[in-house]
């Protein structure tokens, strides 16, 4: 590594860091409280991943996605999941030309920088599956023709608690596509007062400052990929994955894809903390939100997965100097 390149990298990193911090601030000015969740979502965006938000209606899931789109200055689209939603309604479909000669592709709502798929688990499994390709490949294939979605591309899906009526459980294949799954939780009392009085919340959405350009976001994503992952830390991440596979209460442990997502998220966390390397606590922090929705736990109790992931984390010794 030459000094010049190192300098350039350091510059790109500090730029990306600035973008990240400002994004967190911008979203935080709209969404009351929940600093940790905002950071995770921002980190996901920087790491090029998608987020699954699981919570009750009305806690600010949509607002979070909207303000994220507004802060990046990207386009925003929203899909509301219902049981009769068809794949074509999401990715787009072939429609007759204006001239009436043949068909042309009419892009669906996924052709936006930030796509909010609301109540994903109310959509039927076919529609859920349709989302898989676009999330993984970044392109839509209709009638043999691929249509790339704009970059940066990020899906923020929300999910009602599984116990609620009229829901289809998300298949493991779907949940595995999400880099992180978080639960927003309720805001603090003071922050709820802010929402009710209009100091924060949807009323402020228009005032969100655009903190980065789309090329800036792309550059930040590259900077995230450049964050150094030392050998012992990588081994630590693998140990965590292996611990989930060995845990007695977990039926199916975390996949390698889960490990990739976890490390990418850890890189983003490191960058947000203005570091050029991933520290072990970045990995544990990433593991907390990127593993729980991927492992399959024997008991169907709510929160059991997060609990066993925490147990796995506690059982793996972190690397140190």
């Amino acid at each position: 590594m030459t000094a010049v390149l190192s300098h350039d990298q350091a510059f790109a990193r500090s730029e990306a860091h600035t973008v990240a911090i400002r994004m967190v601030q911008a979203v935080g000015s709209v969404l009351a409280g929940r600093r940790e969740q905002i950071e995770v979502v921002t980190a996901c965006g920087l790491a090029g991943g998608h987020v699954l938000i699981e919570d009750l209606p009305g806690v600010g899931k949509t607002l979070l996605a909207q303000s994220l789109a507004a802060a990046t200055g990207g386009s925003f689209a929203r899909v509301q999941g219902t049981s009769d939603l068809l794949p074509a309604d999401v990715v787009g479909s072939l429609a007759p030309n204006a001239e009436g000669l043949g068909l042309h592709f009419r892009p669906g709502p996924v052709f936006a920088n930030v796509v909010l798929f609301d109540e994903l688990n109310r959509a039927n499994p076919r529609t859920q599956s349709a989302l898989l390709e676009v999330m993984e490949e970044g392109s839509v294939t209709v009638d043999g023709e691929s249509h790339p979605v704009p970059t940066p591309f990020m899906v923020v899906a929300t999910q009602n608690p599984v116990e609620m009526a009229g829901t289809y459980p998300l298949a493991e294949g779907v949940t595995d596509r999400f880099m992180a799954a978080i639960s927003l939780g309720r805001a603090e009392a003071d922050e709820e007062v802010d929402v009710l009085t209009g100091r924060r919340g949807r009323t402020q959405l228009g005032a969100v400052e655009r903190v980065a350009t789309l090329p800036g976001i792309v550059a930040a994503r590259q900077a995230v990929q450049g964050v150094h992952l030392a050998e012992p830390v990588a081994r630590f991440a693998v140990d965590i994955l292996r611990a989930t596979r060995a845990h007695p209460r977990i039926r199916i442990g975390a996949s390698t894809r889960a490990g990739v997502a976890m490390v990418a998220l850890a890189r983003a966390f490191a960058l947000m903390d203005d570091r050029d390397h991933v520290a072990p606590h970045d990995v544990t922090r990433a593991a907390e939100c990127s593993l729980a929705h991927r492992v399959i736990v024997s008991s169907h109790e709510h929160g059991a997965a997060a609990e066993v992931v925490a147990e796995c984390l506690a059982s793996v010794p972190a690397p140190r100097r």
Partner: protein
């Protein structure tokens, strides 16, 4: 917190302790008392170490699943903090569902689900017995449980189900309707789905089984009827569950109603279990058993695990070998018998540790064979003639055989404890009979070995742990962890010495078992006469001194013959002649001499003397003895003979009772003689009446009105005038005879010199005159002779006695030691009302009336102080050297660690220690460790330290920098200080 009971087999220790008390009463051995006190203190420590451990053990939370089937395996997660492992029992509504050892942190106990019902609280009992595992203590707490629905296991017979609403007959079971028309979606595979229903395209895409979901199934509803008020609601609930499960597995929706009540929809399998769990709660009888109905000797006991690991079994065997050797050695057994006993103990350990287990009958047979073999080896049956002998001699052998046989029963902890108790009893017995120097170290070693063995027995067997420690790697650094054992040991030592300090030195053996044995029977030629050590008669008549210093008397000392030439003193070595177990020292008198001819003393010649058949002899008062015959003897001495002695029975004056195998000839002059010589290894016991005379009593004594036999006043014709004049001069103005004696003694002390090589008086000269006025150098015989002669010239009855004086005391065995050089001669002066009183300016034996009894602890401390005083330089040097070694080792460790870990590595270790000291888990990442420092300022410092350390470890752009190192080092020091302040 309350005690729950003794571990199995601990009662054997109690029994052994009381057996030890019996041995102490029977032998009066100091060593036994020391062992008993140590045992008592150890038992108290073992009993209170449980609560001490338990006080720091806390259970915080219990979690488990919310829906379960009664009796199925269920994991119980317990969050606890405890510096040591404690055993926990999880109880739900009187039903013990899980048990296991708790790790420090979170532990998953694999147990089972409780009986049917809705459970909202759980009781955890956690117990420990401390290190020694004697007394178990338990704490109990009830925790709220996030509601646990424990449903019944499905009954084979389903309850009645009716298809609703349009099928009133309900006879047909729900069946699948096939057809493509009604497919309107897919869903995950459920148990009971048919293979034909699998939707393969979705299955391929999603990687798991997906089946077609039929609208018709959703519409198909079955209502299951539960009968209320049946005898067994559990069985009814089980039948309902079976029926509902059948419905669910067929894809129909299920509802349930009680009797004719309204139907209730059950949307999911979980809802089914919940409904069945809540159906007709049934009161459960309490499992509590009142304490008086609990089995004492049967039952599992409070110990969760009674298994014995092979290492513990061998530790028990090793712990019992030293006691075996300790006991067998003084009983006169050689290395063959010792090896046989050790072999038998090892065989027992071998047999009981075999895997697979040896069949019980085979094991018991082996035990009996080994016991019989040991009995054959140890016991010489020809020596046993009657029951009393058997009782007296077979006790230790029987104990050894018992210990060996018990070894074959050590298959679990109770057997091991009983075996250790047997070994403890052997040790106590050995302490009762042994009087040698090696007893102290041996006792220490035996106690240590047995303690270690019991700790090994009690340690939880790691292989059998049922619990899964989820974060065992997070040890709680409790301050007690390192200091408690040391402080406990110190406290126990202080307590033991304190207890010993209030226990007086035992007053000798009790009446029951007065030791007496002859190691060899060597009869003397003429009973009643003196003999040499081989039994041949010692010829009487004056011995020719002729300048030779070599004694002609028995035992190498001229005082042990019929004639004592005052110019002779044997060539006496340093070997131990006898050890005497007795509460206080006294003169061990062998002979008395009455007639003096100017150079030699002569034993009075009696015709024959009177014999007395053994083994127990009543001795009548000798001439001049004045004591009340109705009073029991109060001063017991047991003499353990270490070298061959003639047939003189040494004893404290005024012997009333002698226990000796053989006849005893008692003489009017107070000397006792036996039919047999006393070879090395023999023992006999004498009980005497102690004189209570004090100095004040003696001063008041008056000779008026007494007719004193002239033989005690006779002086030889050679007694010079200046001797008489000196006596008169010293007696002049003296208020009492007692004071006169003291004056004579002090005059001798001032004007003569104690010298074992005093010049021999010229032939024909009076020995007393020569000593007093010519040489003025002499030893005990000259001093005693001159005192006696001067007193006789003053009309005071006096004679010479010879024997041994005790010179030192073995504090552990509690015996007084006399060496060959302690052979001695002293004056006995007769006082009215008191009889013969010994006076001796050279030996430091106090008047018996003025001697004080010491406590064991005081004597021990005194001896310890003497040892410390003697070896002060050595001790200080050793301590200093140890200190230097510790400092050097520490410096080397620091240097090595620094070399191995680098300076940042050392900082990292210090940071981890500081954070872990505040309760952080030991395997957390630096960033998480930093979160332990909650205070604003320290949190910032800790975060910075963590960040730098991570950078050092993982950053590609890291460069070492002295200034930075200094800064982080300072920050770590700040964090460490906070820890210590806390």
């Amino acid at each position: 917190m309350r005690p729950v009971g003794l571990a199995r087999g601990v009662t054997a220790f109690l029994a052994a302790w009381f057996g030890g008390v019996l041995i102490a009463l029977l032998t009066g051995a100091t060593a036994v008392v020391i062992l008993l006190v140590v045992g008592f203190v150890a038992a108290v420590a073992a009993a209170i170490s449980g609560p001490l451990w338990l006080r720091h053990a806390e259970v915080h939370e219990v979690r488990t699943a919310t829906v379960a089937t009664a009796g199925d395996e269920l994991s119980w997660t317990i969050r606890s903090r405890s510096p040591r492992p404690v055993h926990a029992t999880v109880t739900v509504a009187g039903d013990e569902v899980a048990a296991g050892w708790l790790a420090d942190g979170t532990t998953a106990l694999v147990g089972r689900a409780p009986h049917r019902g809705v459970h909202e609280q759980v009781t955890v009992q956690w117990s420990t017995s401390g290190r020694m595992g004697m007394l178990w203590w338990r704490r109990q707490q009830t925790f709220p449980l996030s509601t646990l629905w424990s449903g019944p296991a499905p009954h084979p017979e389903p309850a009645a189900a009716v298809r609703a609403p349009d099928d009133p007959e309900g006879a047909a079971a729900p069946s699948h309707r096939t057809g493509h028309d009604d497919v309107d979606g897919v869903r995950q595979w459920r148990d009971g789905d048919e293979v034909t229903a699998v939707h393969w395209p979705s299955t391929m895409r999603l990687g798991e089984f997906v089946v077609r979901q039929r609208q018709r199934d959703q519409e198909e509803q079955w209502v299951v009827t539960a009968r209320s008020g049946t005898d067994d609601p559990d069985a009814e609930a089980a039948r309902v569950r079976r029926a509902l499960d059948d419905c669910m597995s067929r894809g129909a929706t299920a509802a349930v109603r009680v009797d004719d009540g309204p139907a209730q929809d059950l949307p999911s399998a979980a809802a089914v279990v919940q409904w069945c769990a809540a159906f007709e709660p049934r009161p459960r009888p309490s499992a509590h058993v009142p304490i008086w109905r609990r089995p004492i000797f049967a039952g599992p006991g409070p110990e969760p695990d009674v298994s014995l690991s092979p290492s513990a079994r061998w530790a028990v065997a090793a712990g019992s070998m030293l006691p075996l050797a300790m006991l067998l050695q003084p009983l006169g057994y050689g290395s063959f018998e010792l090896a046989a006993a050790a072999l038998a103990a090892a065989a027992a350990a071998f047999v009981t540790t075999r895997q697979p287990e040896v069949k019980p009958w085979l094991r018991q047979l082996a035990g009996l064979v080994a016991g019989a073999a040991i009995v054959m080896v140890l016991i010489d049956f020809s020596a046993i003639s009657d029951v009393m002998t058997a009782m007296r001699y077979l006790m230790p052998q029987a104990l050894v055989a018992l210990c060996i046989v018990q070894g074959f029963e050590c298959t679990e902890r109770r057997g091991a404890r009983v075996a250790l108790a047997c070994a403890a009893l052997l040790t106590t017995y050995a302490a009762g009979v042994r009087v040698d120097r090696g007893l102290g170290p041996m006792m220490f070693g035996a106690v240590l070995l047995m303690g270690l063995a019991h700790a090994t027995v009690t340690r939880p067997d790691r292989r059998r742990r049922t619990a899964v420690g989820l974060d065992e790697a997070a040890p709680m650094r409790h301050p007690l962890r390192s200091t408690l054992p040391l402080a406990g040991l110190g406290l126990a030592t202080v307590a033991a010495v304190g207890l010993l300090a209030v226990i007086p030195v035992p007053q000798g053996p009790a009446q029951l078992t007065l030791p007496s044995w002859l190691s060899e029977q060597r009869p003397v030629a003429f009973p009643g006469d003196l003999a040499t050590v081989d039994g041949s008669p010692l010829l009487g008549g004056p011995l020719q001194g002729g300048g030779s210093r070599t004694g002609a008397g028995a035992g190498g000392y001229p005082g042990f013959s019929n004639t004592m030439d005052t110019s002779l003193r044997g060539d006496l070595g340093d070997q131990v002649v006898m050890r005497v177990r007795t509460p206080s020292p006294d003169f061990w008198r062998g002979q008395t001499f009455t007639r003096f001819d100017g150079t030699s003393w002569y034993v009075e010649q009696y015709a024959g003397g009177e014999g007395n058949e053994g083994p127990e002899h009543r001795i009548p008062p000798a001439e001049g003895d004045l004591y009340d015959l109705t009073v029991e003897p109060d001063f017991t001495q047991t003499f353990f003979v270490e070298v061959d002695l003639p047939n003189i029975i040494f004893a404290a004056p005024q012997a009333m009772r002698v226990i000796l195998d053989g006849n005893v000839w008692y003489r009017p002059d107070g000397a006792l003689r036996s039919d047999f010589v006393l070879p090395a290894g023999s023992a006999y016991t004498v009980q005497s009446r102690r004189s209570r005379a004090t100095a004040a009593d003696l001063r008041l004594a008056s000779y008026e009105g007494y007719r004193i036999p002239t033989k005690y006043l006779e002086v030889p014709t050679s007694t010079s005038e200046r001797t008489r004049a000196l006596a008169q001069q010293l007696a002049a103005g003296s208020p009492s005879t007692y004071d006169t004696i003291l004056r004579i003694q002090s005059w001798l002390g001032e004007n003569t010199e104690y010298d074992l090589n005093a010049p021999v008086p010229p032939s024909g000269a009076d020995a007393v005159d020569h000593f007093l006025f010519e040489s003025q150098r002499g030893f005990c015989e000259q001093i005693a002779s001159s005192t006696a002669i001067m007193l006789r010239t003053l009309g005071v009855p006096a004679r010479i006695a010879t024997g041994y004086v005790p010179s030192e005391r073995d504090q552990i065995a509690g015996v007084w030691i006399s060496r060959a050089s302690d052979a001695h001669a002293w004056v006995e002066v007769w006082f009215p009302d008191h009889g013969w009183v010994a006076f001796d300016p050279t030996a430091s034996v106090p008047l018996s009336g003025e001697s004080t009894t010491e406590s064991i602890g005081g004597a021990l401390l005194k001896a310890f102080g003497a040892v410390v005083g003697d070896h002060l330089v050595l001790i200080i040097g050793t301590l200093g050297a140890a200190g230097v070694v510790i400092v050097v080792v520490r410096a080397v460790t620091v240097w090595w660690r620094r070399r191995r870990r680098g300076r940042w590595g050392v900082l990292q270790d210090r940071f981890v220690a500081a954070a872990v000291g505040r309760g952080a888990p030991a395997n957390a990442a630096n960033g998480e460790l930093a979160e332990q420092f909650a205070d604003d300022e320290t949190a910032r410092i800790a975060a910075e330290v963590a960040r730098t350390l991570d950078e050092c470890a993982f950053s590609p752009s890291w460069h070492d920098d002295d200034a930075r190192y200094e800064q982080v080092s300072g920050s770590v020091a700040v964090l460490e200080r906070i820890r210590s302040v806390r």
